[in-house]
């Protein structure tokens, strides 16, 4: 049995494992040895995500996660980890961060799982110290790892068809030139279109969503050559924005949105000696966003990002390592409202010590962010500059108390912040240039236990605080709400997850997986306020997910459920604001016949009507079938 976490790290950092070995690994669905990681890290592999199309579908299965989903393929889907808020989770593709300085968050509904080999969520950060500083500069990290190309010619063609006009063909080709120095190259292309006009019942009225169509094109080319790898990625989408369902005036929106995203990233890594290793990463990102509203008023944004990172790893003695990473980011937004620029320098100094029983890891991150924006001040053009500098500590430990038992105890502390987004700072009228960063502090204690690699359970209790939370408040007029550093949240929670695999007939297994989340996320902003002591908006006290797969000689049957307790649509926990709990169940049948894999899915089996976000009903029962042909 392979160690998944090890594999994950390997995919990031090392290119010595053969492609064949990789492929075998990702097809195994089973618990593994208890991870040494002092920070809880949950992983899903491609085989476990057969019933998911988007990254947001998959992350719902992690504990500690609250997904905010506006419904449908086109609806925004963001993830808040441990109630810290969606702007506190960094997202990386193949070890290089995705960034959106404008909104400060990534829409996980726009990242397809096609060609993804695994996704993992680490609280605080991963247990690797040899990585870009940006990846430790947030309160949690969602890593998306794409399928590694193979030297041997590999072709995979697939298509999915589903309810409400869902059509998703994809093609993956990889191979290596004949010359020994020729790089391994992979091409991946995907088209996704959906009409998304699902029926729903809202406030007693049955209706269908309109203006919910989505068209997306994604293609990327990856290149691997020894310690060098590069990726060019292009994404283009056009979609309707169906908007909230309004009583008496549902489906009135004709707003449209389209965007383009192009990035090119490269990394190089070299072991200089057994003691010294270094790596370099670079990225250029271009994104363009176009919005047209009902009155044909048009808004365009362009964002440019230049990113460079270098890191050195030093291992003076066995088990002890130090790393130094330095990242430089340059972000530029061109928008009708303003054209702010931000330069961020991130410097991280990390240390890690591992022996048979202990793993101790810590770092200090220094952030210097300079910003400038050109503004009109009484008919003069002035460049306004501002600077944020912070030192952010992180310390963690994991301990294996018994030699005979695969049990690990773990704990971490992390203090980190997020910079206000460009929208928070500068958006017309809403923006407030005086904003301070939003701070988070996390304390975690937990344990992970693995029983003969057949069953694994992990449980972590945590206490978090968010201070200087950036919240929109009507400080200027009732119509225009501006951003203020006014919120304070105290979070106490418990994450539990387990996985089990039990062979029941020859090589056939029953596989179980479950996650459970308990969150007390309490608003402690103003003791005189009406929301003091209440659970923050859209955060259930209980939520969870589970899946069960039964492998048979004919077909593999997989059942999955995502459930949530009641929530409140605002920070005031009163009956009129209550949103009921829900359970959304799906069934997937899959079968592999030689080169062809077939899947058939039924989503929301019980046709439950529910809302995750108020006024955005989710789809009822729907169907999807898929076919993959590989050679």
């Amino acid at each position: 049995m392979k160690n998944f976490y090890l594999i994950l790290i390997t995919i990031f950092l090392s290119f010595n494992i053969s492609a064949q070995e990789m492929l075998d690994s990702v097809n195994v669905i089973a618990p593994t040895r208890a991870s040494k990681s002092p920070t809880p890290t949950q992983t899903l592999t491609a085989a476990e995500m057969k019933n998911a199309v988007l990254v947001s579908d998959a992350v719902k299965h992690f504990s500690g996660v609250t997904v905010k989903d506006y419904g449908g393929i086109g609806g925004i889907k963001t993830v808040s980890v441990r109630s810290l808020g969606s702007t506190h989770t960094a997202v990386a593709i193949d070890g290089i961060p995705l960034n959106d300085c404008q909104s400060g968050q990534i829409d996980l509904g726009r990242i397809s799982l096609e060609n993804v080999s695994s996704i993992s969520l680490a609280n605080a950060q991963s247990d690797d110290i040899f990585q870009p500083a940006k990846l430790i500069a947030s309160a949690s990290l969602l890593s998306i790892v794409t399928q590694k190309p193979e030297d041997k010619f590999h072709l995979k063609a697939s298509t999915k068809l589903g309810s409400f006009g869902f059509f998703n063909p994809a093609l993956f080709i990889s191979g290596k030139g004949k010359k020994s120095f020729a790089p391994t190259v992979a091409f991946n292309g995907e088209w996704l279109s959906a009409k998304g006009d699902y029926p729903y019942t809202f406030e007693g009225v049955r209706n269908r969503r309109t203006n919910s169509d989505v068209q997306r094109l994604r293609s990327d080319v990856s290149l691997y050559s020894g310690a060098f790898r590069a990726k060019v990625y292009y994404y283009q989408s056009a979609q309707g924005l169906p908007g909230a369902v309004i009583i008496g005036n549902s489906n009135a929106s004709s707003e449209r949105m389209s965007d383009k995203n192009l990035f090119a990233q490269a990394s190089y890594q070299k072991e200089l000696s057994p003691k010294w290793k270094w790596q370099a990463n670079g990225k250029y990102n271009y994104s363009y966003f176009h919005y047209r509203n009902d009155q044909d008023s048009v808004t365009n944004y362009r964002q440019d990002e230049y990113y460079l990172s270098a890191a050195v790893l030093f291992r003076p003695v066995s088990g002890l390592s130090f790393a130094f990473a330095n990242d430089v980011l340059f972000n530029k937004l061109n928008a009708s409202f303003l054209n702010p620029q931000r330069q961020t320098l991130l410097t991280a100094l990390s240390a890690k010590y591992v022996n048979e029983h202990f793993l101790v890891m810590g770092n200090v991150l220094a952030t210097i962010a300079n910003e400038n924006v050109v503004v009109e001040r009484s008919r003069n053009t002035v460049v306004e500059r501002s600077r944020n500098t912070r030192l952010s500590p992180f310390i963690s430990i994991s301990y294996k108390p018994f030699a005979s038992q695969d049990l690990r105890l773990r704990a971490f502390y992390k203090n980190i912040f997020r910079l206000p987004s460009f929208n928070d700072l500068y958006y017309t009228n809403i923006g407030n240039a005086d904003l301070r960063p939003e701070n988070t502090t996390q304390y975690n204690v937990g344990a992970i236990y693995s029983f003969r690699s057949k069953m694994q359970i992990h449980a972590d209790a945590y206490y978090n605080t968010v201070t200087d939370k950036i919240i929109a408040t009507p400080k200027r007029s009732v119509f225009i709400w501006s951003m203020e550093n006014v919120g304070k949240v105290e979070i106490r929670g418990l994450d539990i997850g387990f996985e089990a695999a039990q062979p029941y007939w020859r090589d056939k297994n029953i596989l179980l997986r479950g996650s459970y989340t308990y969150q007390e996320a309490i608003d402690v902003t103003d003791s005189q306020g009406k929301t003091y002591g209440h659970q923050i908006a859209y955060t259930p006290r209980f939520s969870g997910a589970g899946s069960a797969t039964v492998e048979t000689a004919w077909v593999d049957v997989s059942l999955s459920v995502v459930w949530s307790g009641k929530r409140y649509l605002s920070g005031q926990n009163i009956a009129p604001n209550r949103l009921g709990g829900y359970a959304d169940m799906g069934i997937t049948l899959s079968r592999k016949i030689k080169r062809i894999s077939l899947t058939a899915e039924m989503l929301n089996v019980f046709d439950k009507n529910y809302e995750i976000v108020r006024s955005y009903p989710m789809a009822g029962r729907s169907f999807r079938v898929g076919v993959i042909w590989e050679m």
Binding site: I246, T428, R476, F479, I496, K530, R567, S570, G571, P576
Partner: protein, 619 residues
């Protein structure tokens, strides 16, 4: 392995305490609040479908947080922006749902949901509503005003106004809409559009302060306007007046965000979003000066969001939106601005209130208590009810009137004052401050608020029975009101003939006999005088011939037998001297009422004020 499952279960149930709704309070408010209850409209938050209508029933001490859903089995919708009453109906304007809900004030039930859509079926985004002669006018963010018939509830026509109208009022046959400017915060408007009602076309656009919002008119036809200033929230929050000649007067010393006008007093509040300070003041719209610049003392209010006055007792209700995201409260202050009570957590962003009065249904002329201590004199003008008692002399007639008006239960019936000028003088054991005069005015169904049988009489007060002061009513400054009117009635010969009159303005006419009243004479026979002369103020004619009915309009306020008893409330604060100057009185013991409209029509005869009793509300 078994142990591991047990651990999972233990952990699972370790913290099983699901979220619980925080209970909302039921406030215990004294049942006697001069109204059966108060409706409170809560705007809700955009795209959350959280608009609601709350109702506090004072007598039952019961608060219903969403009476609309309770009574109608469905939600009100999204962003309920305005609520106004017309007759027995409440009209709720629901902006983002694109509807106007017509709700029966007695039951809370929706009688009609009127969709406000353009030809393409798109929401016009209705914002605010005003009424005029049986029609409702709804201003919409798509720069239009829709005319809705209040009997059929059909949209009859639509006309162009200005951009993003956010206030509407009607004065002098014109609709005024305030053009607030775009909602995305880029452009503020600064104009008011004026629409001529007969042609239903925009006739004028006049420049006002930035971001104009709420509008209301006083009884003189002056339109007041509050403007919110820039989108930065730092104002200026302006109060302006547009007179009939469309001239604009600014009141730079008054900060106004929102207001209401009741009996020519404007109750104005301001919340400055930048300083986060609020002020509430009262303003006399006729004298155009501040009455009390610090009407509500203390810092009880956080973010006032709506204001209304209970006309029965003068209580001022202010809706407080609080943080704008959590439930707001409604505070009640008495007419002097002293805190009375609070209705907590009414809903999100409460912005309008309407009072349900016990007698609001039907004619509403119940009376249960009468405080008249003495009928000092009774000098009616000729009329169809005069002499019906058959009294032989004045003493007998006075006794007949006393028998009617001195009953403590107010159940004695009515006394007619005859045609213009006839009067009665009443005495009281306790000083009067605010009081109700019983009459028999009522509104015709379907034309409810316009009028019906309304026979206005002017009310005068006195501390000593010698120096009299008129209570200034809504028509006081109307140019058609004749303040130095004098009339003489001539004893008919034979006594059963029509009664002739002449006035000091060259007019002449008759009080005609009719078939319904067959007493020997319509002229008061107990007087031996050959002529009867009365002096006073003649109000404008208030009659209108409708097909099949003759309708007598109600004036806005301030006259006896002019409105149903529920609304027929007077305050000695309205007392003025002959020059029209306010007079401060504190020991009013005498009341005089005289018929104040000189109008005859064939269907219902002469307009004559009737009196059934007086109830002291405050003293």
């Amino acid at each position: 392995m078994k142990n591991a499952y047990i651990i999972i279960l233990i952990l699972f149930f370790a913290a099983c305490k699901d979220l619980k709704d925080y209970p909302l309070p039921q406030d215990d408010i004294n049942g006697n609040q001069g109204a059966a209850g108060v409706y409170i409209l809560c705007e809700g938050l955009f795209a959350q479908n959280s608009a609601s209508l709350a109702y506090y029933a004072f007598e039952e001490k019961r608060f219903t947080r969403d009476i609309f859903s309770e009574r109608n089995g469905r939600k009100l919708g999204d962003t309920a922006n305005d609520m106004q009453q017309y007759g027995g109906k409440i009209y709720i304007v629901v902006d983002n749902s694109g509807t106007v809900e017509v709700v029966d004030v007695r039951t809370g039930k929706s009688v009609k949901q009127i969709p406000i859509r353009n030809a393409a079926g798109k929401n016009r985004h209705p914002r605010c509503i005003a009424f005029h002669e049986g029609k409702a006018y709804v201003a919409c963010f798509d720069s239009t005003v829709c005319q809705i018939d209040t009997t059929t509830f059909e949209i009859e026509k639509t006309t162009q106004a200005g951009a993003y109208p956010d206030g509407i009022c009607i004065a002098d046959n014109n609709i005024y809409t305030s053009n607030s400017g775009e909602r995305n915060g880029t452009k503020t408007g600064n104009t008011v559009s004026i629409i001529d009602i007969p042609s239903f076309r925009k006739i004028k656009e006049i420049a006002v302060a930035d971001n104009p919002f709420k509008m209301a008119a006083d009884s003189e036809g002056d339109v007041y306007l509050a403007s919110r200033g820039s989108y930065r929230g730092d104002g200026p929050y302006m109060l302006q007046k547009i007179n009939k000649q469309m001239n604009i007067t600014s009141f730079p010393n008054i900060e106004a965000l929102n207001f209401c006008i009741v009996r020519d007093t404007a109750y104005i509040y301001c919340y400055n979003f930048v300083t986060q300070q609020n002020t509430v003041l009262t303003f006399d719209c006729l004298r155009e000066q501040v009455i009390d610049g610090d009407f509500i003392k203390g810092d009880m209010l956080q973010t006032p969001y709506g204001i209304a006055v209970n006309t029965q007792n003068g209580d001022v209700y202010i809706a407080d939106a609080g943080s704008f995201t959590a439930t707001g409260d409604v505070y009640c202050f008495d007419k002097k601005g002293a805190y009375k009570f609070k209705i907590s957590d009414v809903g999100i962003n409460p912005n309008a209130m309407i009072f349900a009065y016990a007698e609001n249904s039907g004619g509403g002329n119940n009376k249960t208590i009468n405080h008249i201590a003495e009928v000092i004199d009774y000098h009616p003008a000729p009329g169809q009810f005069i002499g019906e008692g058959g009294a032989a002399d004045y003493a007998a007639e006075l006794q007949r009137v006393r028998d009617i008006l001195l009953r403590a239960d107010g159940a004695g019936g009515l006394v007619s004052l005859g045609a213009w000028g006839g009067y009665i003088t009443l005495g009281f054991d306790e000083p009067l401050q605010r009081f109700r005069i019983y009459g028999n005015a009522y509104y015709y169904a379907g034309y409810e608020n316009i009028g019906g049988s309304c026979e206005p009489g002017i009310v005068m007060v006195s501390e000593n029975g010698a120096e009299w002061y008129e209570l200034r009513g809504a028509e006081y400054n109307n140019p058609q009101t004749i303040h130095d009117y004098e009339i003489t009635y001539y004893k008919p010969n034979p006594i059963g003939a029509d009664v002739r009159w002449t006035d000091n303005k060259g007019g002449a006419g008759y009080v005609y006999r009719n078939n319904y009243h067959s007493q020997p004479s319509y002229y008061p026979l107990w007087t031996n005088a050959e002529t009867l002369t009365f002096k006073g103020c003649r109000l404008p004619d208030n009659g209108e011939q409708l097909s099949g009915a003759y309708l007598l309009h109600a004036f806005a306020y301030g006259y006896a037998d002019n409105q149903p008893n529920a609304e027929s409330v007077f305050d000695i604060a309205d007392a003025v001297d002959n020059a029209g100057n306010a007079v401060a009185l504190n020991n009013v013991r005498y009341l005089r009422v005289y018929s104040a409209v000189n109008l005859y029509n064939a269907v219902i005869g002469e307009v004559s004020t009737e009196i059934g009793g007086v109830e002291i509300i405050d003293n």
